[in-house]
Each structure stands twice: as structure tokens, then as C-alpha cells.
């Protein structure tokens, strides 16, 4: 608790301790949304910079800054998708398959990525977190600052749009 109090008072050493404690967690969360390691590193620094600037707004009584950080990280990642119209790259720098897939599989993957990229940044983030990363609706709701029901609605809407797009592309029946 003392560390959080010092952080809230603007102590740089306390911030460094929190930074080292949470940088991995913030990075992994952002990576699940932007799916690019270099971008995720930059956005992790941006997130923790915003957290440092907002230290006075942190409610020490809550006793845990993890959910607050995750919420800011989600906003930073979605802002990035919105600002740069960032397209999710082919996943060659993540957990890549052991062997190079054949051309038709690459084409299929491209069609699916195109369909995901057509979703709005907020919908894309929810779809990726819920369907690809299998995060719980509860943690997605906390990260986005919405209710679990709202997450379910967004997942449903995202699935419907994806199905429509993929059916039109002849990928999904």
C-alpha cells in the first residue's frame, strides 16, 4: 500500500517499481489487441506514461492498480487502431505455425484478416479478446468499462458481421 501511496504522490522511484511490476502484463494485454510486438512495446510505454501523468487521479483506497492500468491500456490500443487504421498483420511474429502453410491457406487467412480489419476498432478489440484470446467477458467488460451484457452484445454483433463478410467472400457458409 505504501508503494501505491508514494506513486499517487508522484514519487518516480515508486513509479519505477510499479512499471517493472506491470510492464509485462500491460504488454501482453495490448499485444492481444494490436497483434504486433513492436507496436505493443511502444503502446506499453505510452500507456505507462499516461498512468504516470494521471498518478494524482489514482484512488489509493482501491489498493490495486491492475484493473485501472488495463483499462488505460485498452483505450491506448483502441486509439491506436482508430488513429492509424492499423491493419492486423499476418501473424508471422507471434505464435507462428511450425511450417509454412500452402498458398490456399494463406489466401484463406488473408480473407479472414480482411474481414476482421473491416470491424470497427472497438468491435475488433472485443472479437479478438473474446474469440481468439478467450478472455472472460468479465475481464473484457472491466477493461472496456462496460457491462458484461454489453460485451456479449458486441461479440454477437461482431460474429454476425464476420459471418456475413466471410460468406460474401465464399469462406464461410
Amino acid at each position: 500500500m505504501e508503494l501505491l501511496e508514494r506513486f499517487a504522490a508522484g514519487d518516480l522511484d515508486a513509479f519505477e517499481s510499479l512499471f517493472r511490476q506491470y510492464q509485462g502484463e500491460v504488454y501482453r494485454w495490448i499485444l492481444r489487441i494490436v497483434r504486433n510486438t513492436a507496436t505493443a512495446e511502444d503502446l506499453t510505454v505510452e500507456t505507462l506514461w499516461r498512468i504516470y501523468r494521471a498518478h494524482a487521479q489514482f484512488d489509493v483506497a482501491k489498493g490495486n492498480c491492475g484493473p485501472w492500468m488495463r483499462r488505460i491500456a485498452t483505450n491506448v490500443a483502441i486509439d491506436h487502431l482508430r488513429r492509424s487504421r492499423h491493419e492486423i498483420p499476418l501473424p508471422d511474429n507471434l505464435a507462428a505455425p511450425a511450417q509454412q502453410p500452402p498458398a490456399e491457406q494463406l489466401e484463406l487467412r488473408r480473407e479472414i484478416l480482411d474481414a476482421v480489419n473491416k470491424l470497427s476498432p472497438r468491435l475488433r478489440a472485443v472479437v479478438l479478446l473474446a474469440l481468439v484470446e478467450e478472455e472472460s467477458y468479465e475481464s473484457i467488460a472491466q477493461a472496456l468499462g462496460i457491462s458484461e451484457n454489453a460485451v456479449k452484445v458486441r461479440v454477437f454483433r461482431g460474429v454476425r458481421i464476420l459471418r456475413k463478410t466471410l460468406t460474401q467472400a465464399g469462406v464461410h457458409s
Partner: protein, 73 residues
């Protein structure tokens, strides 16, 4: 929409986008944060220093303008 349809789509998505779980941060980002903090510290632009130097030189070589300046201030 049936649960199986969602599962089918989930499988398609996962084949195209392998989950990022298990991908760890490869380096410490604190040095990058320190650079960021350093950039944001207050800095006087070089042009302001130039103007200040010019004003100081003017006062040094033409001290007669000091009373006039004081009068107008």
C-alpha cells in the same frame, strides 16, 4: 445464432490469428520510459536563448537605453 456457429467461427479466427498468449515481453522498457520522461521535461527553445543573448548584448553595448526601458516599463 447457435453456439456451434460461434465455435466454428472461433476456430477459423484462431487458425488465421494464433492467440498471443505465451508471448512474453523480450526487453525491459524502463529505459524507453526514461527517455520519454526526459523528453517531457521543460526545455527552453534555442531561439529563446538567442533572443535573450541578443537583448543582453544590446544592453551591454548600449547601456544608455536602460533608463529609457525602465521609464517605459
Amino acid at each position: 445464432m447457435k453456439e456451434t456457429e460461434i465455435d466454428e467461427l472461433k476456430k477459423l479466427l484462431k487458425d488465421a490469428l494464433p492467440p498471443a498468449r505465451g508471448v512474453e515481453l523480450q526487453r525491459d522498457l524502463w529505459p524507453a520510459m526514461l527517455r520519454r520522461l526526459d523528453q517531457r521535461t521543460f526545455r527552453v527553445p534555442w531561439w529563446d536563448w538567442t533572443l535573450l543573448a541578443a537583448a543582453a548584448a544590446l544592453l551591454f553595448f548600449f547601456p544608455g537605453i536602460i533608463p529609457a526601458l525602465v521609464y517605459h516599463l
